[in-house]
Amino acid sequence: MKRQVPLALCFLFGVAMIYTQFSPHQYSEAVYNEVIKWGLIISPFALVLAVVTLIQTHTSRIRFRSEHWQYSFIVFIGMIVMVAVGLFFVPNWLLNLLPENVSTALADVQIGPQNPVFVWLYDNVQVPMDATMFSLLAFFIASAAFRAFRARAFEATLLLITAMFVMLGNIPVGDLVWNKVISWLPLPESWVLLEDGTSRMEDGASWLRQEILDVPNTAARRGIILGVSLGVISQSIRIILGIERSYLGGGD
């Protein structure tokens, strides 16, 4: 029963939602709109589940003294402080019920996600920490590129050359460097100059970047998208028909 009910629901809703995509009938539209509303109601429970899982994970880390377990306390402190500041939200309808002097005072404080303490913590703790973590990537990428990006084989050379041109075309300096290098090269004028006297190779870095992105990149991406889409369709059919049951958890 624990498995049959979810499987039956999955089949029912799967078939119904496929049907609504192809039928413009008013009943089909009504079912579609109703299911979307249910989805909006159910979605917040995923956040509850995420919080519960986070608490369970870090509680067990502290209990079993896993590696770096001390940091789990920081997770709890951060979560409790932000929730405490953010949860004390007084909606307008409640403010209207309170005595005027109390409601005015509370409204002025802007309790909730717009609370000055919440905003201050967000601006001065979360944003700089997140931005710092991401900024560190530049240092590691530079170091890793110097050490590992070597033309050891044909494929690696191809990747290296392509990456160089895309990087060069991504920046305004790229065209300046390109134009300077081209001017140094002993290329025949008939190759370089157009009929109107302008250079056909001017700003070649951005042109080449665009060509690489437009042609080989798009072709490869399209192949990946088609492959993934076919995989998603087949997997969805397997789930709707109850062949694929791993989402239920546990073994068969």
């Binding site: 995509q21 709109n33 979307i36 509303k37 989805g39 909006l40 159910i42 979605s43 917040p44 995923a46 956040l47 909606p91 307008n92 996600p113 717009q114 919440f118 905003v119 967000y122 601006d123 979360q126 944003v127 997140d130 931005a131 973590m133 991401f134 530049a138 240092f139 990428i141 530079a142 170091s143 590129a145 110097f146 050490r147 990006f149 070597r150 033309a151 290296l160 160089m164 990087m167 060069l168 991504n170 920046i171 305004p172 300096v173 790229g174 065209d175 300046l176 460097v177 700003d203 951005s206 665009q210 992105l213 437009d214 990149n217 798009t218 991406r221 399209r222 998208i225």
Partner: protein
């Protein structure tokens, strides 16, 4: 000598990166920017919209990647306000609500835009798919109130906006795959016009959608923001950021070339 160079202490590389980021930031350099086709298309699309049209901005990035999408948001909002186009903001990311709210207020203040008349920020609702699909039927079903807790029915801008039919364009400012989700669900199901302003790492993913027309335009990373600023003739954070990034890019290219030259010399010696 060669051995020492190839095993260079990575702290030297870190120092060089820090210098090429800090120096151009302190001493701004104006470099010539060539506008790419995807950015030009987005600009042209917005430029062609009549005054009073509505554009939806989805702030789908986290604080970690705000450096790239924020200049894009500034440039596009500036363009919209100058043309009398209304801006409706929302986000699919819970961690971006405060960021987006502050950003919209700041840009609106700079452009004398009035909240509720020229722009509105709806905030965040959990669940990506139900939110995207739900707004296609009725935005008020998903966001019954804006971020300031005002019912949508009390906001003048939203009086004539029921669903995507009244939205001329959705611009997704993204640092992940949300643009593809908007295309798959909002464009395919509701024929909502979509454009993207994405961080540099996901530019390549967007090109098939540009070619099919599912994306009307795109701002690719810092470059896109700087290009849009050039089209507006208003250099801003995007231009500064791109100039800074330029020198970091050049350093990495230089390091890779030098690393490979050293690698080949060493291999020849060993052979």
């Amino acid at each position: 000598m060669l051995e020492r160079f190839m095993n260079m202490d990575r702290r030297i590389i870190f120092l060089l990166i820090a210098l090429v980021v800090i120096i151009p930031t302190l001493i701004p350099v104006r470099l010539r920017i060539t506008v790419s086709e995807p950015t030009q298309k987005l600009y042209d699309y917005i430029e062609a919209l009549p005054s009073g049209s509505n554009i939806m901005l989805a702030f789908d990035y986290g604080p970690s990647s705000l450096a790239e999408p924020e200049p894009m948001a500034k440039a596009v909002m500036q363009h919209c306000f100058s043309k009398g186009i209304n801006v409706i903001g929302m986000t699919l990311f819970p961690s971006t609500v405060t960021l987006a709210d502050k950003l919209m207020k700041k840009i609106a203040d700079e452009n004398n835009a009035v909240y509720g008349e020229d722009y509105v920020f709806l905030g965040y609702r959990p669940g990506t798919l139900p939110v995207i699909l739900g707004m296609g039927t009725n935005i008020a079903n998903v966001f019954d109130k804006d971020y300031q807790d005002t019912p949508l029915s009390d906001i003048p801008l939203m009086a004539n906006v029921k669903n995507y039919d009244q939205i001329s364009l959705l611009l997704d400012l993204a640092s992940s795959s949300t643009t593809e989700t908007w295309i798959i669900y909002a464009n395919t199901k509701y024929d909502l016009k979509i454009a993207a302003g994405v961080t540099a790492v996901i530019i390549a993913q967007m090109y098939p959608y540009l070619q099919t027309g599912q994306l009307v335009g795109m701002m690719p990373g810092y470059l896109g923001a700087a290009e849009y600023e050039k089209l507006l003739n208003a250099p801003g954070d995007g231009t500064v950021g791109l100039n800074t990034a330029s020198f970091a890019h050049l350093l990495i290219i230089g390091l890779v070339i030098l690393g490979n030259i050293a690698f080949f010399i060493q291999r020849r010696k060993e052979a």
